[in-house]
């Protein structure tokens, strides 16, 4: 399959402007004749549903939570980037573009990233107007902080709850449209299949989590904004309900899945405490602005941190990367922590942790200032660990946080199925092999507010979309498929719980396709995952029926898809014989232990095509060209 990005040729600075002008429009009176389905109500989905409803389209929006306000965007802590250059410190659209392409280790599509940097400034304006209470300076202007991978202060924030405030802005805009009748909201729904009629995405099949009712919803276009698949690791910073089902089942209907092995392991999370652990909690990257990361210099040093003198501490990030110090990008900080722990210098129970120490900045700025900046994070840390970070250094360890891979989309954010658009973390487009901090919120809102409202109109205006009758065979078939999967899960006569399978899968993926991968480990995982999948379908036990509020059944459907996705991740990781960003293959590293890319052979997007159960997926390549930011060995030294 030839993958055509459709990115405009010519000067990148004007590409989006020129492209927007070339896009066809739908006249206001005709917009209400079109139905659009939006799955997911986070920053990307909520912003898209609200904006499209406002334009006059008929929108149906679905989410699995009990309210659109609970989508996991809400948990983002640190901030959102925008090239405002309010601080006169040398920022520009081009610099944000440059930092993002470099931060992504030269595996993103330049035109998309440039557009993202351009619209970043509109996002801040939009959110301020919606009433998002960003941090302010005494003069009344917006405040900024710095974040990993950048040497300018371009991150806007609302205490440690930026994601929450941005999401509430989008949610309120969405509720306004719901009140006005332009959007109909369907909470507590899982999307179980995509309806493809004559090659076009024309609807979805959903299951109501209240009563198990399975329904077909038709539309003229479908937007998936369902987030990432980090929960394939079982333990991650994602919410418990986050899942891959919507994009995975769309993948099985023909949408290519791009770069599944690009997963981001966030360096600053609270370490695992026990085998009952159900999720991991992130401590915002913004803490690295003031906290200093260190381990004892001596292997196996078990003294308490206050007993270890300055001369016997190794501030390894400051030592190895003097110009970025504690603010190196996430992939680099995570691997560095892993290396220290692997070599025996880790701290805390099990030795899987490093210190994030605030004593210097508390001395310098006072505890009150630190409380103002990070109070809620310190409190959260204390609640979980029972330790007071004002007095004892935090212990942190990397954890799965974000997935750069996702469904392949073109410049219009349309997948390889016409009429199926994919926004936010669910697509692959902007972050390459590693996402910089405070860029996920930016991408979600850029896609939802400022890109899809333009590009979807062009699709609708250019497409023939015949009216469908309820009994169109494709819809019936999708409905039966969803029903069959559900029945099959319920009919299992085994003894094992769904969580036990999820944990086991997570451990395989973490061990062999986590922070560092190698050929033999990946091959091993590719042997283990199909075995586990087979056991799952044989030994699973789900109590109760479909026609009720059945949380085990919900989980089982999601884990069934993770068991298939996990295999594709390993296939992708094994085929990519290089290291880049979050994909670190042990065999490919520089003498200093940094990721060693192979631009001659792997400067492409790997987009996988589903070929049926038991068949190997087919690899399709979208070559990447770098006309503006020339690929170099990333250096943060």
């Amino acid at each position: 399959m030839e993958l055509i990005s459709g990115a405009p040729i010519g000067p990148i600075e004007t590409a989006w402007e020129r492209h927007k002008f070339a896009l066809k429009l739908v006249n206001p009176a005709n917009k209400r004749k079109y139905n659009i389905i939006v799955v997911g109500s986070g920053l990307a989905g909520g912003a898209a549903a609200a904006s499209l409803g406002e334009l006059g389209y008929n929108v149906q929006c679905f989410c699995y939570q009990d309210s659109p306000r609970r989508a996991h965007s809400i948990a983002a802590q640190g901030g959102i980037n925008a090239a405002k250059n309010y601080h006169n410190d040398g920022d520009s659209v081009f610099r944000l573009f440059y930092d993002t392409v470099k931060g992504g280790d030269f595996r993103a599509r330049e035109a998309n990233v440039y557009r993202l940097a351009q619209v970043s400034v509109n996002i801040i304006d939009q959110c301020v107007a919606q009433g998002v209470p960003f941090a302010r300076e005494y003069g009344g202007n917006l405040d900024n902080r710095s974040f990993g991978g950048a040497q300018v202060s371009r991150t806007f924030y609302a205490r440690g709850q930026t994601g929450q405030q941005l999401l509430l802005g989008a949610y309120q805009a969405l509720e306004r449209q719901i009140g006005l009748g332009s959007v109909k909201m369907y909470p507590r729904r899982d999307m179980l299949d995509l309806v493809v009629v004559d090659g076009q995405a024309r609807g979805i099949v959903t299951r109501s989590l209240y009563d198990g009712k399975i329904e077909v919803h038709f539309a003229d276009a479908v937007i998936l904004a369902t987030g990432g698949y980090g929960n394939v690791f079982y333990l991650s910073t994602n919410a418990k309900g986050c899942n891959v089902t919507a994009i995975w089942r769309a993948h099985k209907r023909g949408a290519l899945f791009a770069n599944p092995c690009y997963t981001q392991i966030h360096p600053t999370c609270i370490p695992v405490a026990g085998d009952y652990q159900s999720k991991l909690t992130l401590m915002s990257e913004s803490l690295r602005n003031d906290g200093r990361i260190w381990v004892p210099k001596t292997v196996g040093d078990k003294r308490s941190p206050d007993q270890i003198p300055e001369s016997e501490r190794d501030y390894y990030l400051e030592r190895r990367y003097p110009s970025f110090g504690n603010l190196v990008p996430r992939d680099i900080a995570s691997r560095a922590a892993k290396r220290e722990c692997d070599e025996g210098r880790g701290v805390g129970p099990g030795g899987l942790g490093v210190y994030l120490d605030f004593s210097d900045c508390i001395k310098r700025l006072g505890a009150a200032k630190i409380a103002e900046r990070y109070g809620n994070l310190f409190e959260m840390y204390e609640r979980i660990t029972g330790e007071d970070p004002y007095r004892v250094p935090m212990r942190i360890y990397p954890a799965t946080h974000y997935t750069m891979g996702g469904l392949w989309v073109d410049y219009n954010l349309m997948s390889t199925i016409p009429g199926l658009f994919v926004l936010g973390e669910a697509n692959f487009s902007d972050h390459g092999a590693n996402r910089l901090g405070a860029s996920a919120l930016m991408q979600g809102l850029a896609d939802g507010y400022f890109i899809i409202p333009y590009t979807i109109g062009n699709y609708l205006a250019n497409s023939k979309l015949p009216k469908l009758s309820a009994d169109v065979p494709a819809a019936k078939e999708a409905f039966c498929n969803a029903t069959n999967i559900t029945n099959k899960l319920l009919n299992g006569k085994g003894t094992r719980t769904v969580d036990s399978f999820h944990r086991e899968l997570g451990k395989i993926i973490w061990d062999y396709c986590g922070m560092a991968r190698d050929k033999s480990g990946l091959e091993k995982a590719l042997g283990l995952i199909p075995q586990l999948r087979e056991q799952f379908w044989k030994e699973l036990r789900i109590l109760g029926a479909n026609e009720e509020f059945n949380q085990s059944l919900e989980k089982a459907g999601r884990v069934a898809d993770f068991l298939e996705l996990g295999e594709l991740m390993c296939i992708d990781a094994l085929h990519r014989n290089e290291s880049c960003g979050g994909h670190f293959r042990e065999e490919y590293q520089t003498p200093e232990g940094e990721a060693l890319r192979d631009d001659a052979n792997y400067s492409y997007v790997a987009a996988w095509e589903y070929k049926g159960p038991g068949q190997s997926p087919a690899l399709n390549k979208e070559p990447l060209a770098f006309d503006y930011v020339h690929p170099s060995q990333r250096s943060y030294k």
Binding site: Q65, P68, G131, G163, T497
Partner: protein
């Protein structure tokens, strides 16, 4: 440690419901309350018994999905803590705990500890927003906002919509929730044009949803996991009363040309 739980079990909204006793041995002090329930549920499934349904999602105290009563207190009654962030080190061996769902006419039980809070969404839809079409905003720094106003707006905006305030209130009032949104937007210059309409519409919707009136008891503030202050209710009342006096029917003749 070992705990004894009495959990509200209710199959669906039509079922009458009852308390059921469970013993949970080997509770680790580092577990969160929900992880303790996970462990109990795994053992129930192994025995072929229906696991306890409870809502939860982010498990880091921000999504607002979780929440139930522990010994009559919303989220367990620990300061600034949702039940997902409540760790077992606060309990001791042999403790007997009673778990019940939020009880309010406006929050019907779906199953066991899970309730339907869609009424909150409908209140926001009635007026809890600033009407600003996508793409029409002026520069973010065009209107300076006093830091104090911005901070007060943020204090109120921290509400996670969990419903603990309603559950804790003897009247099952939603005044803290509604007051928080009215205060958040009312503290900002951007929220001024719709301030009157917002107060009128949201208070009206609050009544339609069967939330009762506030009688200044203050239980809501005491259990709020995000420290929303009673002050927001005063602000709601002020905005509502003010708007009631100055409200005029909208002119029907404007805008046609």
């Amino acid at each position: 440690m070992k705990l004894i739980l009495h959990v509200w079990r209710q199959k669906n909204s039509a079922d009458k419901g009852r308390m059921v006793r469970y013993e949970v041995p080997d509770v680790n002090e580092h577990m969160s309350f929900l992880e303790m329930l996970d462990v109990l549920n795994e053992s129930l499934i192994a025995k072929g018994e229906d696991p306890i349904a409870f809502d939860h999602d982010c498990r880091e105290g921000i999504c607002g999905m979780c929440g139930f009563m522990i010994n009559g207190k919303a989220h367990g009654g620990f300061k600034r803590t949702t039940v997902c962030q409540l760790h077992m080190r606060h309990f001791k061996d042999g403790d007997e705990l009673y778990l019940e769902p939020w009880r309010a006419a406006a929050f019907p039980v779906i199953k066991d500890l899970a309730v339907n809070r869609a009424a909150f969404d409908r209140i926001i839809a009635s007026g809890g927003f600033i009407s600003v079409p996508t793409g029409s905003a002026p520069d973010g720094n065009a209107i300076p906002v006093k830091k104090q106003d911005s901070d007060l707006a943020m204090d109120a905006a921290a509400c996670i919509g969990c419903g603990a305030c309603v559950a804790a209130c003897p009247n099952a009032a939603a005044a803290l929730f509604v007051g928080a949104k009215i205060s958040h937007l009312g503290h900002l210059p951007q929220g001024q044009p719709e301030r009157d309409r917002r107060a009128l519409a949201m208070v009206q919707q609050m009544r339609v949803e069967n939330f009762a009136n506030c009688t200044n008891i203050g239980e809501c503030e005491a259990v709020c996991p995000k420290d929303i202050k009673l002050e927001v209710i005063a602000r709601m009342n002020r905005d509502y009363i003010g708007a009631s006096f100055t409200n005029r029917p909208e002119s029907g003749s404007g805008g046609v040309g």
